[in-house]
């Protein structure tokens, strides 16, 4: 068994993926930054000076303190504090964790939906394809953001504010997953259509293999590179979507803030000069999304799949 794994490792070491990664400084830096941010976010309980969820640690007297280096700053709060007196660095660490959780969760959900529906639509064709893709078309023409807003509004109205706040993480994963599955489904369908025409699929049919076996063992593995690329980009999109929903008040409550709800709560104080409450979480969000997008770009260039346009 060790011989096999060794050869896998060798295969990876000699692969074009690894070769082009080593040569691409942007990709290396992006990955390092991304890994550092993920690590910091998930180690938030260890790294953060205070626990923003713990009301006992918050003193309202400390509200709206600027970051270190500016007049009136307090060395205990290197990035300053927000309007409730919470340490901004701690809230950002915890907020990044929430944003990442929702981003990954939503992408897992939409990938499951998108791969399943995309495979079915592409391989079976006919009526199944027509119905699934019509739904996807309508959803996409409304834009994923609009669908997420509508679904979010419906959820909020039917669960009530309090209930919504308690299970907001799961609901947001659900909302974004539902809103964005067509992106993945269309990509999967397009590559299934391309693969389906290839003769190895005919060969499998001629062998008498059943449809599920052909779909999952023969076609699915060959659509993985475009799925991989689009899923990476979709993590970035999901994080942005979450931030947008939170900014509109349809996302994470302020007691359990994500980067988006931090930006929103800070926005109310921007006119009074406390720019850091909104702009520092904003910067973190942009860096996070940017490195994911850069990694996605790099992957797309290397794997070079034909992605569905639009």
């Amino acid at each position: 068994m060790s011989a096999v794994t060794a050869s896998r490792w060798e295969r990876f070491r000699d692969s074009y993926l690894w070769y082009s990664f080593r040569r691409d400084k942007v990709a290396i830096v992006s990955l390092v930054v991304f890994v550092a941010m993920v690590a910091a976010a998930f180690l938030a309980p260890v790294l953060a000076p205070t626990d923003p969820y713990d009301l006992a640690q918050i003193d309202i007297m400390n509200s709206e303190l600027p970051p270190a280096g500016l007049a009136g700053s307090d060395p205990a709060f290197p990035l300053g504090t927000d309007a409730q007196g919470r340490d901004l660095m701690s809230t950002i660490l915890y907020g990044t964790r929430v944003s990442l959780l929702i981003g990954f969760g939503a992408v897992v959900l939409q990938s499951l939906l998108g791969i399943l529906f995309g495979l079915l639509a592409g391989y079976l064709g006919g009526r199944v394809d027509a119905i699934l893709m019509r739904i996807a078309d309508v959803q996409l023409s409304f834009s994923t953001l609009m669908v997420a807003i509508i679904v979010g509004a419906i959820f909020k109205a039917s669960f009530g504010n309090l209930m919504f706040g308690e299970i907001a993480i799961y609901l947001l994963i659900l909302i974004i997953g539902i809103a964005e599955w067509p992106q993945i489904a269309r990509t999967v369908r397009a590559s299934v259509l391309a693969e389906k025409k290839k003769e190895y699929v005919d060969a499998a049919k001629v062998m008498g293999f059943g449809t599920p076996r052909i779909m999952f063992r023969h076609i699915l593995p060959n659509t993985l590179s475009p799925i991989f690329v689009i899923a990476t980009v979709q993590i970035a999109n999901a994080i942005i979507s979450e931030a947008a929903l939170s900014f509109l008040g349809l996302g994470m409550p302020e007691t359990q803030p994500s980067l988006g709800s931090l930006i929103k709560s800070g926005f109310d104080y921007i006119q009074s000069g406390s720019w850091w409450i909104t702009l520092i979480p904003g910067l973190v969000l942009v860096v996070l999304v940017l490195v994911i997008n850069l990694l996605g770009d790099w992957l797309r260039d290397v794997l070079n799949p034909r992605l569905y346009k639009g």
Partner: protein, 339 residues
Amino acid sequence: MSTAQETLVDIRGLEKRFDLSGGLLDQLRFRNGRIERHQEHVHAINGVDLSVTRGEALCVVGESGCGKSTVARTVMGLLSPSAGEIHYDGKRIDDLDHKAVLPYRRKMQMIFQNPYASLNPRMTIRQTLEEPIRFHQPELSASGVEDKVAEVMQSVGIDPDWGKRFAHEFSGGQRQRISIARALAVDPEFIVADEPISALDVSIQAQVLNLMMDAQESRGLTYLFITHDLAVVEHFGTRVAVMYLGRVCELADTATLFSSPRHPYTQALLSAIPRLEDDRPNHIRLHGEVPTPVELPSGCVFHGRCPYANDRCRQEIPQLIATDGGGQVACHAVEEGRL
């Protein structure tokens, strides 16, 4: 034909249409002030009767769009016929369900045109070859499967030690060998080969043709060989069927067809082969283009390009008739003795 020769595959009155017109809404046309429903079909095969004798290599030749690949794919069950029947060893197989057709999947196999697309790029060669054996012979032990894989790999001239490699690590010719090995892995008796060498370079074509002939000899295979290349047919085929726009226009022993072609289209096709011997092409020039199979011409499908066409050819569809050489030809001019 003598009755001692056993018919293995029998294609009877085969027709295949592909619907082009899409949904009901696409079919609506505005014509002469009225809305009409207008349906369009590609008539890929229009009544083909062919029987493949056990042990022979029946070649089907024709230009693109003549329906030769559709015949191959329909025989293999990749497409279902619009009309007609396909019999294998005396039993009708085109209307069987997935389970009932399984035994025939072992007996009938297929080799494809494009060696770069016919192997699954995410599977190693060993996985590609093991899967059909395991599927069709679940009783075989792991070592039995391994032996079988090694045996077929050797028989097509691929070193069994290369089994761990992926398809992209092989050249086009090697991939086509592996593709043949996959077909042979389930011990078939009948193989449909759809343009198996036309994507290969000249020097590799000879290798693959030799391999197929060796396999035929050692395993007693029967071939249905689809190609556009008449030079290959002359070398490889026992009998030849020439197709044009979804119909068989001539069927004969290879030697007979090449020495005395009867149908005007066969004659033109033969004269179009660039030969090494001549300095000058002196081919028969056909005027015009192949009509689209969407709106078939009336009568003989070839009449628009045929120098011998008369009114009867434009109206009446010619049927295959026996010729002196033992072949069959569908041509009014031959029947009437004009040609």
